[in-house]
């Protein structure tokens, strides 16, 4: 008997420790695991390194986690957002460190971390400030920069549906970083609208096989970041 379901977001994130590296899924609001992030705010872990494509908007979800000053460093491709002053304020006051990574390099580093690849070469960023101080090398007459695989202690991910073995399917473009962050993290925590029994998801359509998933938690009606921001919600 294998059952990876946990009963609440709070339970799902209870062992995230101070200083942990946490991958957080989502591209903009699509795929942002808001309920898991809010549970992490409640839980109190601090000094975190967050790996995420963006830095959230308004003062909910990821932006609220930053606002609460729980994050020492973000590894991110696009921390600027129209509707948030949280990251800019922290950045300008020197309260948060930023490692800026091209989006495709970020994705590939996460996948590499999960696939046991310690380093790989990419043409992205060659000749730009983001490749300064990085090892570069010519293959077949073209220059590439070496990038390292990226691993995290935890990942917070939003799926659509999961079974108790941890097989996950996603919703549309909310898939984005979820599958690779499940691979790249030691403990992948996935919130889904519904958890079902093994056998209820066709093995041909599983996107994240259960081996990459450690905990699934049901959030039947997940909030949408844009709706919360429009309503002026500030968490907590």
């Amino acid at each position: 008997m294998i059952n990876k379901q946990v009963q609440s977001p709070a339970k799902a994130v209870e062992d995230i420790f101070d200083g942990a590296t946490v991958m957080i899924g989502g591209f903009g609001e699509a795929g942002s695991p808001i309920e898991l992030i809010h549970a992490l705010i409640d839980q109190g872990a601090k000094g975190l390194t967050v790996v995420s494509n963006n830095c959230g908007s308004g003062e909910v979800g990821l932006a609220a986690l930053l606002k609460a000053q729980r994050v020492a460093k973000v590894v991110c491709s696009f921390p600027r957002t129209a509707n948030s002053t949280v990251f800019p304020d922290l950045y300008h006051s020197g309260k948060i460190e930023l490692e800026l990574v091209p989006q495709g390099t970020l994705a590939e580093r996460i996948r590499a971390g999960g696939a046991g690849i310690p380093a790989f070469f990419t043409p992205a960023a060659v000749g730009t400030p983001l490749a300064e101080c990085k090892e570069s090398r010519v293959f077949d007459g073209k220059e590439f920069v070496m990038e390292r695989g990226l691993k995290a202690d935890f990942a917070l991910i939003k799926g659509k549906l999961a079974d108790t073995h941890g097989n996950v399917v996603y919703n549309k473009t909310a898939r984005n970083f979820g599958p690779i962050m499940a691979m790249g993290s030691k403990v992948a925590i996935v919130q889904v609208e519904r958890v079902v029994e093994p056998g209820e998801i066709d093995p041909e359509i599983v996107v994240t096989p259960g081996i990459f998933t450690d905990r699934v938690v049901e959030v039947a009606n997940p909030a949408h970041e844009s709706a919360l921001v429009a309503a002026g919600v500030c968490y907590p």
Binding site: F27, E29, P79, A125, P129, K172, R175, N176, F177, E225
Partner: protein, 219 residues
């Protein structure tokens, strides 16, 4: 070089329309945010393009009707979109495999500066207080088969955007193939900028004066 924004030449829509003529049927295309997005509206009848958005969708369709959007079906600009018949969703590593692996035929981007060697600067002014944010631009220019820039020929203050060498931080080195501006279509060649076409009523000298590097005549 500081002069009022010119009122001669193509409008943004006309620039997009001009570019759209040059995209072959069946191309896989990634359109950047801003003017590049306009290109999709002007694809000639009878041609089908397949739009890639780097956040995990191939076969992106137009924006849905007001109020019909799905917050989990968005494009790279985080705007609501639709999925056409024949679409596919995939994760970010697969999406950037399409980009980095040279599977996308054309990418259209905006620019702050393009150099005569095809260097592109479009992500940062390099000002110390700016929040750096790069997104997928560096991956796109490094991986996509052809990279076109669509931009006003000059900045709002009248400075040329087509330059001898970029002063802003680079997005990529030697990556731009062609530039569509309000004044002209210009190729980046091993010899530098070469004029392909002038917008109606615009003369070569007018464009050369507003270009920060020598402009070769139409070949």
């Amino acid at each position: 070089m500081t002069q009022p924004t010119n009122t001669t030449g193509w409008t943004r829509e006309q620039m997009a329309q001009r570019l759209a003529q040059d995209i072959p049927n069946g191309s896989y295309v990634n359109l950047g945010i801003g003017i590049p997005e306009l290109v999709a509206k002007f694809v000639p009848e009878g041609r089908t393009l397949i739009y890639h958005t780097e956040n995990g969708l191939l076969g992106m369709g137009p924006s849905p009707a007001e109020g019909q959007g799905d917050p989990e079906l968005i494009n790279a600009g985080k705007r609501h979109v639709t999925a056409n018949p024949g679409a596919a969703f995939f994760h970010h590593a697969d999406s950037f495999s399409m980009i980095r692996g040279g599977h996308i035929d054309l990418c259209v981007l905006g620019a702050m500066q393009v150099s005569k060697d095809g260097d592109l600067a479009n992500w940062s002014t390099g000002e110390p207080d700016a929040i750096p944010a790069v997104g997928g631009a560096m991956d796109l220019v490094a991986g996509v088969k052809s990279v076109y820039v669509i931009t006003q020929h000059c900045t709002k203050t009248g400075d040329p955007k087509l330059v001898d060498s970029c002063t802003y931080p680079l997005t990529g080195r030697g990556v731009i193939n062609r530039i569509y501006t309000d004044l002209a279509v210009i190729d980046v060649t091993p010899d530098g900028f070469r004029l392909v076409e002038l917008s109606p009523g615009v003369e070569f000298e007018y464009v050369q004066q507003r270009t920060g590097a020598p402009l070769l005549p139409i070949q």
